[in-house]
Subunit: 485 residues, 2 copies
C-alpha cells in the first residue's frame, strides 16, 4: 500500500505550520504527483495476485453454507440474503435485493436402467425444465443418432414408442466452442424427438469428462413447455449403450423422473455499488450469477464468478488514493441457469435487471460478466471503439504480464446475465478464461469447492480489478464506434 493522499495533506499542513509558507511551497513542489490510473491498476493487480482479496473466502462460504442454489429455491434466496449482508459488511453502498417471479423446476427422484438384453443401471440426469415421466417410468427401444443432425433428418412419425438417443461427443476447446456446437441437441432435442413420436429423449452429456456423472442443463420450451421427458446420460453410460448396440440386438431402457414445477416461486438479483466520485450515474457493471444447478454446489458455475467480481470491486473500494470517477456496480444475478425466452417460465435475473434499470442503461458505461469457471484469464476483449488507442495500450501493459493477451475480436457478448443489458446498447468487455477443463465439471455433481484452484482464482481477480479500475477511473467513451488513433 502507498501513503494515502490524506496523510500527505496532513504532512503538508504540518510543514506549513512548522516552517512557514516558503518552505511549504518548496515541499509542495517536491511532493510526488498523484498515482496514475495505470500505477493503481498495477497495484490492484499485484495485491490480488498475492492472494490479498476476498474471493476464496467468498466462494468457500457461499458454497459451504448454502450448497446447491437452484433458481427459485430456498437455498438461492438464503444465499442472496447472505450475499447482501456480506456486501454491506464489506462497505459497499446501495446494497439491495431485487426480487422477481418465476416458475421453478425441481428435480425429483430419477433413475434409468438398461432392461434388455441384460439388466444394468444407467447414470442419468433429467434436463432442467423437462417434465416428469409417468410413475413407473417410460420404457422403450433406443434409436441411436450419431449427431443431432441425424435426428433432425429422421422422417416425421418415425419414432413411435421409441427413445431417441443423440450420441454426439463434445469437443474439448479452450474457448468453449465445443460446448456451443453440442448444446443445440440439449436445447432442441426433446422437441425434435417428440415431433417424430418419441416417448423420451436422451443425449450423451454435453461435457468432456468420462465420469459417471451426467451433465444437466436447461432445455427449451416450445409452446410454453418441454414436450417429453429428457435426460442426459453420463459419458460412460452413453458408451455402454453404443457398444451394446454394436454387439447386436435391441437395447431397451427405462427412464424415470419425478421432476416438478413450482409456479409461484421467486428469484432475486443482489445489487451493490462502489459509487463514483465524479460520475456516479455512469456505471461499470460487473455480473455473475448466484444460482446454480442442483447437483453440485455451484462452485465453478458460478460461485467463483460471484467471488471474482466481488473481490475485484472490494479491492477498488479500498484503493487508498481515491475512489474511481464512475460507479462500479456488482450484480449477483438469480436464475441464470433456466433462462427461457418467455416469462414467467424460467424468467431470469438478466431480464429483470434490464427491465428494472431501463432508465439507467443509457448511462451504463460498460458491462462484463464472470461465468466460465475459475481457470486463468488468457485474453481480454474490449468494445470496438477502444480496441486500438491509449486505453487498449494501457490495458495491455497491465494485463500482459499476468498472461492476458488482446483478443482477436472486439467484445460483442459478455455472458447470459448481462446479455439483455448489452442488447440495450451497453458496451461489453470480456476477460476470456481458459475453458479446456471447464466442461469436465460444468452442470454436474462434481461442481464443488475442491475444484477451485486458488492461484487461478487470484489471477482472475487481478485481471478484473485492474481492468475495471482503468475503465471506471478513466473517462473513455466505450460507446464510441470510431476506431482509435
Amino acid at each position: 500500500m502507498q501513503n494515502s493522499p490524506g496523510i500527505a495533506a496532513l504532512a503538508l499542513s504540518l510543514l506549513i505550520a512548522t516552517l512557514g509558507p516558503a518552505a511549504a511551497a518548496a515541499a509542495r513542489r517536491a511532493q510526488p504527483p498523484p498515482a496514475t490510473d495505470e500505477q493503481i491498476a498495477v497495484q490492484l493487480r499485484d495485491t490480488a495476485l498475492a492472494g490479498q482479496n476476498v474471493a476464496m473466502d467468498w466462494v468457500s462460504e457461499l458454497t459451504t453454507r448454502f450448497g446447491p442454489r437452484p433458481a427459485g429455491s430456498d437455498n438461492e434466496r438464503q444465499a442472496a440474503e447472505w450475499a447482501a449482508a456480506r456486501l454491506k459488511e464489506l462497505g459497499f453502498s446501495n446494497v439491495h435485493i431485487e426480487s422477481f417471479p418465476l416458475t421453478a423446476w425441481v428435480r425429483g427422484v430419477e433413475s434409468a436402467q438398461i432392461v434388455a438384453p441384460v439388466a444394468q443401471p444407467l447414470v442419468v440426469a433429467a434436463l432442467g425444465e423437462s417434465p416428469p415421466t409417468p410413475a413407473g417410468g417410460v420404457e422403450g427401444d433406443v434409436v441411436i443418432y450419431p449427431t443431432f443432425a441425424d435426428l433432425k433428418a429422421a422422417p416425421s412419425g418415425s419414432l413411435p414408442g421409441k427413445i431417441a438417443f443423440v450420441a454426439a461427443r463434445t469437443v474439448r476447446t479452450q474457448d468453449g466452442a465445443g460446448y456451443g456446437a453440442a448444446v443445440e441437441a440439449r436445447s432442441d432435442g426433446p422437441a425434435e424427438a417428440a415431433k417424430r413420436g418419441a416417448i423420451a429423449f436422451v443425449l450423451r452429456s454435453v461435457g468432456t469428462d468420462s465420469n459417471r456423472l451426467a451433465h444437466t442443463g436447461t432445455t427449451s420450451y416450445v409452446d410454453g413447455r418441454v414436450a417429453i421427458p429428457a435426460f442426459a446420460l453420463a459419458a460412460p453410460d452413453a458408451d455402454q449403450i453404443e457398444r451394446l448396440a454394436a454387439l447386436g440386438g435391441k437395447v431397451r431402457i427405462r427412464l424415470s423422473s419425478s421432476a416438478s414445477y413450482v409456479r409461484d416461486a421467486h428469484s432475486q438479483n443482489v445489487v451493490a455499488d462502489v459509487p463514483g466520485r465524479v460520475h456516479p450515474d455512469e456505471i461499470v457493471l460487473l455480473g455473475a450469477h448466484l444460482d446454480s444447478w442442483d447437483q453440485g454446489t455451484g462452485a465453478i458455475d458460478d460461485g467463483t464468478g460471484t467471488a471474482i467480481i466481488t473481490a475485484a470491486a472490494k479491492l477498488i473500494l479500498d484503493v487508498p488514493e481515491r475512489v474511481p470517477r464512475r460507479t462500479v456496480r456488482v450484480v449477483l444475478f438469480g436464475s441464470e441457469e433456466v433462462a427461457q425466452p418467455v416469462a414467467p417460465f424460467g424468467a431470469f435475473g438478466g431480464h429483470s435487471y434490464a427491465d428494472n434499470h431501463k432508465a439507467e442503461l443509457a448511462r451504463h458505461a460498460l458491462a462484463g460478466e464472470s461465468d466460465f469457471g475459475t481457470d486463468r484469464v488468457y485474453s481480454v476483449a474490449l468494445p470496438v471503439g477502444v480496441v486500438k488507442g491509449d486505453f487498449a495500450a494501457t490495458v495491455q501493459r497491465v494485463l500482459q504480464p499476468i498472461g492476458v493477451l488482446p483478443a482477436r475480436e472486439p467484445a460483442r457478448h459478455a455472458g447470459t446475465d448481462v446479455a439483455p443489458t448489452i442488447e440495450a446498447g451497453v458496451p461489453a468487455f470480456a476477460l476470456l478464461q481458459d475453458g479446456s477443463q471447464y466442461f469436465d465439471i460444468h452442470h454436474t455433481a462434481n461442481d464443488t469447492l475442491d475444484k477451485v484452484d486458488r492461484e487461478q482464482l487470484d489471477q482472475n481477480v487481478a485481471a478484473w480489478a485492474a481492468l475495471v479500475w482503468l475503465a471506471a477511473d478513466g473517462e473513455v467513451d466505450f460507446r464510441s464506434k470510431a476506431p482509435g488513433p
Copy 2:
C-alpha cells in the same frame, strides 16, 4: 510367429525323399536347435505387447454385456456362463464352473442429506454387507473423528443417537499402502461406532479422487452381522461436512438405505486349463475375479484381471513350438468383494477353490493373481527360494526391457482370491502394478471400460505370459526354501 515344428518336420521328410539319407543327415545337423524357454518367453512378451492378445476384447465384452456383477447376482452368473463358453471357444481344456452358496448383499435405494443448518444433498454409498436403515432413514448430529484411532479412543457410550464420522484421508501411493492404512476404518468402523451407541457410521471414502462418487467396499461382520447402517461419503461431501462444522454449530444429517440380503444365493468359480505336456498335475494357477461391485461395471476391478490372465494363458496355449511342461490353470473367481471370515455370510470363491481342490494343492507349483487394475507392472516378486539364481536372472532379462524390476522382497501374498491356496502352502508370485491412480476409481461407479488403457493392458499381458511360460515350461521347484546359487 515362427515356423511350427510340424512344418520343419515336413520339410525334413521332403529332404529325405528327394536327396537320400546322407544329405538328410547333413540337413538334420544344420537344423536350428529347438527354441529355448527364454526365446519363447521373449516371443510371448512381444506378441502381447504388440496388441496381439485377447485382453481388450475380453474386458470390453464382459463389462458391456453384463455390466455390474455383484456376488450372487444374475449378472455374475451370466458372466460366468459366458466366460466358460468363451474359454472353450478359445481352446482351453477342463473348462467348468464350480458353484458355491452365499448370502448375497443387495444395495437398495439410498440417499443422504445435510438437514441442518441448511438442507443440502450428500453423495453416499452404503458399505457392502451393512444393514438397511429404518424406512425414512436415521437422523442425527454428526461427531467428527479426524482418524479412526480417535473414534477408538472415544469412551464407551459416548455416541448415543449420534452419527460417527471418520474423516481420515487416503494417502496416494504406488504400492497400495495408502489403501491398507485407510481401510481398517471401513472394515471395523461400524462395530466401533456401534459399541459407543452411535446410530450410524460414515467415513470419508477410502479413495484418492475428488469426484462426487462414493467408494463402497465391504465392512466386517461381528457376531455374524454388521451392527449399524454404514456409508461412505464422496470426498467433496466429507469436505463439506468438515467445513460446515468449522463455520460453527452442529451439522445434522439423515441417512437412508434399503439394502437387503438374499440368503439362498450362489456364486461360482470358472476353471480352465492349458494341460501340461510332462507334468499335467503340477499346476501354475492364475487368478482374478469375475464379480464386481455394483456401482460400476467392474472394468479395472477386476475385469482387466480376468482379461490379463486369460489373454496370457491363451498366448501360452497357442505357442507353436510346444505346450508347457506343467499345467497352466486360469481361475476366474466369484464373490471376491464380500469375503468374510465366516461362511455362508460372504463365503467367497477363494475358499471354495481351496476346499474343492484340497487334494491337488500339494502339487500346485505356483499361484498368482491379477487384481490391481490395469496400470503397468513395475515389479516382479518371486518365491523366496528362487529370488536369486538362474530362474530369477532369466525373468529379469525378459521383463526388465518392459519396465519390470525385481521386487525388494520375496512374494508372500498374491491376492485375496488365491490367499487360501497360498495359506495351504502353494508358493506365490506377484506382478506388482502401479496403483497410484487405482484408488481414484476403485469401488466407485467410475469403474468402467473407458478407464482401461490399452497399452497398459498389453504390458500386463506381456509380463504375465512371459513369466508364466518360464514357470510352467521349466522344472524349477518354487517350494524350495534354499537360497539360489
